[in-house]
Structure formats: C-alpha cells, structure tokens
C-alpha cells in the first residue's frame, strides 16, 4: 500500500468512525431531554429510567466520540500538513468556534451525568438540553469547515499565494448551508432509527414492554420526521453540488456524456473504460428535472472534465445509490409509521411492523457513511476543490501504512468493545429498571 493511499484510508477510517459517535453525541441528548422532561412533568418513573439508561449508554459514546475527535484534530496535521499549512488560517474559524461549543458541551455533560439529585431539577434538565444544543452547533460548524473544502472561498488565490484571507467569509461559503442542513437532519434520522430499532427488537422479544415502547416512541418521532425531510434536503444538496462541483454530480450519477433531457440512472454498474453504465434503469429527463427543475436542460457529464480531474466514478456512484436507497426505505417506513399512528393503531404491536424497524436499525448510519463517501470521494482528486490536490497535501513521512494498520486495529477493537458494552447494558435493563 503506498503512503498516499494509506493516508487517505486512514483519514476515511477515522472520520467514518468518528461520525457515528458524533451523530449520537448530537442527537441522544435531545432524546434524553425529552424523556427527562416527561418524567419531570408526569412523575412517571419509567421516563426517569429511560433517561438514566440512555445516559449510561451515551456516556460510553461520548468518551469514544471525544477521543476519536481529538485524534482527528491531530490527524489533520499528521496526514495533511501541506493542506493545513494554508487551510488552517482560512477555515479555522469554524474550528475555533467549535472548540468553544465542545467546551460548553463537556462542561454541561459533567453537570448532567453527575448531577442527578444534586441540583435544582430544572437546572439539571437544562444542562442536558445544553449538551444537545452545543453538540448540534459544533456539528454544524465542522461541516461548514468541510463545505469550505468543497467550495473554497474567503481568500484570493494568486500565483500559489493565499491572499486577502477572510475567515468569516470562508465559514459562510456557498456550500455550508445545504451541507449543514442535510447533515443535521441525517444525524436525527440515523440515530433515531438506530435507537428505535434496538427498542423495537426488545418489544418484539416481549421484554419490558412499557419501558421499551415509551423509549421507542420518543426516538421514532424524531427519526420519522427527519426521514421525510431528508430527501427534500438531499435535493437541495444535489442542486448545489451540480453548480459547484459538476464533476462530483456526474460521478454520483455515473453520467459520462453531457446531454439534454438527461435521464436518471438507477442502479447499474458503471464501466469507466467504455464510458457507459450497464444494467441500470433509466428514467428519461429525470436528472435534468432534479438538477434544473425542467426536463430539458443540459446536465454536464464527465466528458467536459479533464481526465486528471475526474473523481473515481464507481465508488461515488455506488455510494450515492446506497444513500438514496436507504433514504427512500426510511422515508417509506416513516410514512407507514404516521399512517399507523393516525389510522391503524393496531399495527403498532404487529410483528411485521416491528420487524420493519428492526431491519432498518442500521439504515441511517449506512446512509451517513455512504453520503460522506459521496462528498469526499466525489471531491477527489482535490482536497480543496480546484485549488489544491490531495496528493500535494500529504505528509512527506514514509511508512504511513503502518500507522493505518494501527488505526484500523484500534478502531476495530474499540467498535467491538462498544458493541459489547452496549449489549451488556441492554441485558441489564430488566434488573435495573423493571421492578
């Protein structure tokens, strides 16, 4: 494995690991705040138990999120010094504000986790809310930094020099809004479906039904709304990408030829050499419509992009399809849930209905990982779209593959440990919370 590929793989691995914990870190505090609120209002002990059971699980995720995030802030320099040297001062604004948000989150978390019975109950509740709010704000901020890589702004690039740096403008670059919106919604649907799925499984197994039903309802309420909004926000993202990064859009859609009445290709195996997609289903004109709101207008294909500026087509295309497929499935389930809620209450306890949620447990996280693959692989070969190539940013140190193996080992072990601990916590629910 050469150093460049190793560095990219290590970055992808670390980010792919961290994103799971950050989604949970953003969303679980919100869920906990809701059940905590219900407890304070109704005095129903079950809600208190749910809040405490969740907060124990979340503590594990928080610690893992915090350490993997710490890794990342060093890895940016360890792996991409050529990039950070120039980018640091320009896209640093969101990172410095993020630092502030994390700090507040960590303080609030201390109060929340260790503050049961110590403080005024509403103060204690508010610290939990603050954990969620600062988590979401920090998520939005990092994504703004990533959006800047897709749409560099806030400086003038003259003869290899980065002049007239304006960090505020860099933070509010063209891409940040669509990305931050899509990501925040994604965090809710991914975490929501995962949590709902775990509780659905317990209901399915007829264990602690009151406890798990109440927990399920809180999680799915957020997840279902988010899953319905997700494709709408995805449409904004796609329109945005088409404007900023036509190469990325073309790779996502495996669109080799620029054309009018552009079809949308669903599925299929892109053949880069022959420049066509085999076995795909074509819906005529749909891509033109999705990108430009009319069935006719031309969409740029890979043929207008110089060969050495094209991203890997197959990975980007598959990842995009996977995201959209899981997204559509989650939207479908969400709609069924609302139908059940309003018209067919009896479904809620049917086995097939619970099974849907059990199957959908990982869908949101699959979509998140796939979506990030689209964004990041679709940006290649650029680390900073149109300005700096990833290959020019990588560290001069040889032997990065060993560091990659090390990280792979660590993240693999940690994932196993987290799964192990979580399953033990779920196993203990009857003993701890079911008297």
């Amino acid at each position: 494995m050469n150093d460049f590929i190793a560095a990219r793989s290590q970055m992808a691995l670390s980010l792919g690991f961290h994103i799971i914990y950050s989604c949970i870190g953003m969303v679980m505090p919100v869920f906990m705040a809701v059940s905590h609120y219900k407890y304070l209002k109704t005095k129903d002990e079950v809600y208190k138990n749910i809040t405490q059971a969740w907060s124990k699980g979340v503590a594990i995720f928080f610690a893992t999120g915090a350490v993997s995030g710490t890794m990342l802030s060093f890895e940016l320099g360890l792996l991409w010094p050529g990039f950070m040297k120039h980018a640091g001062p320009i896209f640093g604004m969101p990172f410095s504000l993020e630092g502030v948000a994390f700090f507040i989150e960590a303080i609030a978390l201390g109060f929340f986790l260790y503050g049961w019975k110590r403080f005024n109950k509403w103060f204690h509740w508010a610290t939990g809310v603050l954990v969620g709010v600062s988590g979401i704000i920090s998520g939005i901020l990092v994504v703004a930094a990533n959006a800047w890589m897709n749409s560099p702004s806030g400086f003038d690039y003259v003869n290899g020099q980065y002049l007239n740096v304006d960090p505020i403008k860099a933070m509010f670059n063209d891409a940040w809004f669509a990305e931050a919106l899509h990501m925040t919604i994604a965090a809710f649907s991914a975490t929501g479906f995962a949590v709902a799925g775990v509780h659905a499984l317990m209901i399915y197994k007829r264990q602690n039904i009151t406890f798990h039903t109440k927990a399920f309802k809180i999680a799915i309420a957020f997840a279902a709304v988010a899953a319905i909004l997700q494709p709408l926000s995805g449409d904004i993202s796609a329109k945005d990408a088409a404007k900023r990064q036509p190469a990325k859009l073309a790779a996502m859609e495996a669109l080799f030829k620029t054309q009018t009445y552009t079809p949308l290709v669903i599925g299929g195996i892109p053949d880069t050499a022959a420049k066509k997609v085999n076995y795909g289903i074509e819906v005529p004109g749909l891509l033109s419509f999705l990108v430009h709101d009319n069935f006719k207008q031309e969409v740029k294909g890979l043929d207008v992009i110089p060969k050495n500026e094209q991203p890997p087509v197959a990975i980007t295309h598959y990842a995009f399809q996977l995201m959209v497929a899981t997204g559509m499935a989650m939207m479908g389930i969400a709609i069924l849930y609302f139908i059940a809620l309003w018209k067919k209450r009896s479904w809620l306890f049917k086995k097939w209905f619970l099974k849907l949620f059990i199957i959908a447990t990982p869908f949101g996280f699959i979509a998140v990982e796939a979506g990030w693959t689209v964004t990041e692989v679709g940006r290649q070969p650029w680390i900073m779209q149109g300005i700096m190539r990833t290959a020019d940013a990588v560290t001069p140190m040889p032997g990065i593959q060993y560091s990659f193996y090390l990280f792979s080992f660590v993240y693999f072990t940690l994932s196993l440990a987290v799964i192990f601990l979580l399953s033990r916590q779920i196993k203990m629910v009857p003993e701890l919370y079911d008297k």
Partner: protein
C-alpha cells in the same frame, strides 16, 4: 490581538498541564499503589475526576486549534517531525479515555473485564504524559531537523534523544505529584490522607531526580538549559519562587490546609514552566541550525488572528464562569457522599 492569542495559547497549555496532568497522575498513582489499596485509590480518583475529565481535556483541543489556526507553520512542522511521538501519545489518549469510561459504565462489573480496563487505564496514564513531555521537550531541544535526508534523522532523532526523554519522565513525575496533592484534598479517611501524603512525598523526590536527569541530559545533548534558567532574572525569580512554594506547600499539607496546598502545587508547576518558557519566548520550536519558529513572526495573517482572538475572548466569557461553577459544584463530592 496577537498578544491575546498567545496568552490564550500559554494559558491553555498551562491549564492542560495542571488539570489534565493531575488527571493522568491519578492513573500513575494507581499504577504504583499496592493491590490492597487499589480499590480505594480508584474510587477516590473516580469521584474526583469523573465529572471534570472531559472538560480538563478540552484545553488540549483548544491549544491544538489555536496552533493550527493561528500558527500553521508551527503546527505543521511539529506534525511532520514529531509524527511518531504524537501518534503514540494519541494512542495513549484514546486508550485512556475509553478505558476510564468503560470501567465506570460497564453494566456488569465482572472481575476480568474490570481488570483489563484498569490495566489499560494505568499504563496509558503513564504513556500519554511521557510522550506529551517528549513532544514538548523535543520542541525546545533544538534537535528538530528540517534538512535531514535519512528517515532516522528526519523523523526519529528529533525526539529520540536523552533530553526529550528526560523531559518526558519529568512530566510523568510532575503529573503524579500534582495528582497526589489533589487527591489528598479529596480523601476523607485519615488513612487515605496519610497514604496520599506519602505518595506526594515520594513523587516529589522522584520529580527532583527526574529534574536532575533533565539537566544532565541537557548538558550531554548540548541544550543550554542551565543558561536559560539561571541566566536571566525572570527565569531565576521563577525558579526561586517555585522552590519557596514547595516549602510552603509541605507546611500547608502538614497543617491539613488542603485547598491552599493545591494552589501552591499549581503555582510551583506554573513557575517551572515559566522559567523554561520565558527564555525562548517568542520561539516555540527550536530547529537544528537555528531557523526557529517564533510565535511573533510565524503566525497567520492579521485578520485571522483578530477573528481567532475575538472568538477566544467571547468564548471564554461563556466558558470560564460555567467551568468555575462545575469545579465548585463537585469539589467536595467525596466528603459528602461518605
């Protein structure tokens, strides 16, 4: 604004050293505690650092962010030359943070798993500050070689030298010392207090020995440490103040004034950092051959520094009061609960 940013950087490094250091120290003490007392030590330190460890570690993040936003040349140079020790330190951080929370949040407290977490926790508590110290020592050792042509010169000998390693050991000893002083204040039983006082004494002596090692290594490696520290009035004053506060520290400990003892310990360590730091300010990374990286010249454009400084000032308005309240709220936790 540059001054504000530099002050924040120094402040963040100092606080990480004091708070994060005490936190590492708790693990180091556990490593050197007899099996009989391990559980008690563990409980005391969990109660003491549980609520605040995440916040303590944020100072590291703040320092790193200030470096990469405000001083990108420094951040990238350190990342390149000290890749390996930073990597090891990161492994320590990840192992330690996760083991600490796993052992407290594992729903089933089985003996084998708890033992495993404990082992990981104590060894990583030792490794992390060791390599943190090595990174810091290397930055000022003047061994960072930007013209190297071989792998060893470029990526290994920058930090694999007697001086850096001695600084690493010294850091470990100081962390243990800080933690012992901190835990004296957190213990209730007379027996525990005595135990931690003894630990503090041993670690104090160890810190002296390691400090001596640092000087010795400096002489061997041609680092002009003695000249830096004794050659200018401010550093000299700082060293003298550090020594005085050490004496006062032991007097207050013996009188049972736990809170004041902590202040003296913090003050003493701050003075040690000041005495070394002052002499090469504004140079932050000393490079072989002399092209040092300085906080005053190797910074980002003024506009970036201004926004960074503003963000830090506004942020601290939010952070500092709540942080104080956090420490205040949990400071007497142990004594209440027993």
């Amino acid at each position: 604004m540059l001054t504000v940013v530099i002050l924040f950087l120094c402040f963040a490094i100092l606080l990480y050293f004091l708070l994060g250091g005490a936190d590492f120290g708790a693990g180091i003490i556990e490593l050197f505690t007899s099996d009989r007392n391990k559980n008690r030590t563990r409980r005391t330190s969990y109660q003491a650092i549980g609520p605040i460890w995440e916040a303590n570690h944020m100072w590291l993040i703040i320092a790193v962010v200030i470096l990469f936003v405000g001083f990108p040349n420094i951040y990238t140079q350190l990342s390149i030359s000290l890749h390996i020790p930073i990597l090891i330190m990161l492994m320590g951080i990840i192992a330690r943070g996760t083991a600490f929370s796993f052992r407290n949040y594992d729903a089933i407290k089985g003996e084998r798993t708890q033992n495993l977490y404990n082992h990981i926790f104590v060894y990583s508590s030792f490794i992390t500050p060791l390599f943190l110290g090595i990174v810091a020592g290397s930055a000022i050792s003047g061994q960072i070689n930007v013209q190297a042509t071989t792998f060893m010169d470029a990526y290994v000998y920058d930090w694999f030298n007697l001086f850096s390693i001695a600084v690493g050991l010294f850091t470990v000893a100081l962390c243990g010392f800080l933690a012992a002083i901190y835990l004296i204040g957190e213990s209730i039983a007379e027996k525990d207090v005595k135990r931690f006082i003894l630990k503090a004494k041993v670690l104090n002596i160890l810190a002296f020995v390691c400090g001596g090692l640092v000087f010795l290594a400096a002489e061997i490696e041609n680092v002009h440490l003695a000249r830096w520290i004794f050659g200018n009035p401010i550093s000299l004053t700082a060293v003298i103040l550090a020594s005085i506060s050490l004496v006062l520290l032991w007097i207050t400990v013996n009188k049972g004034k736990r809170f004041i003892a902590r202040l003296f310990a913090a003050f003493q360590v701050s003075m040690i950092l000041l005495s070394v730091g002052y002499r090469h300010y504004p140079n932050f990374v000393l490079i072989k051959g002399g092209a040092n990286l300085s906080l005053l010249t190797d910074h980002a454009t003024d506009k970036t520094i201004t926004t960074l400084g503003t963000a830090l000032l506004l942020g601290s308005l939010l952070i500092l009061p709540s942080l104080f309240y956090l420490y205040y709220s949990f400071k007497d936790r142990n004594r209440e609960e027993d």
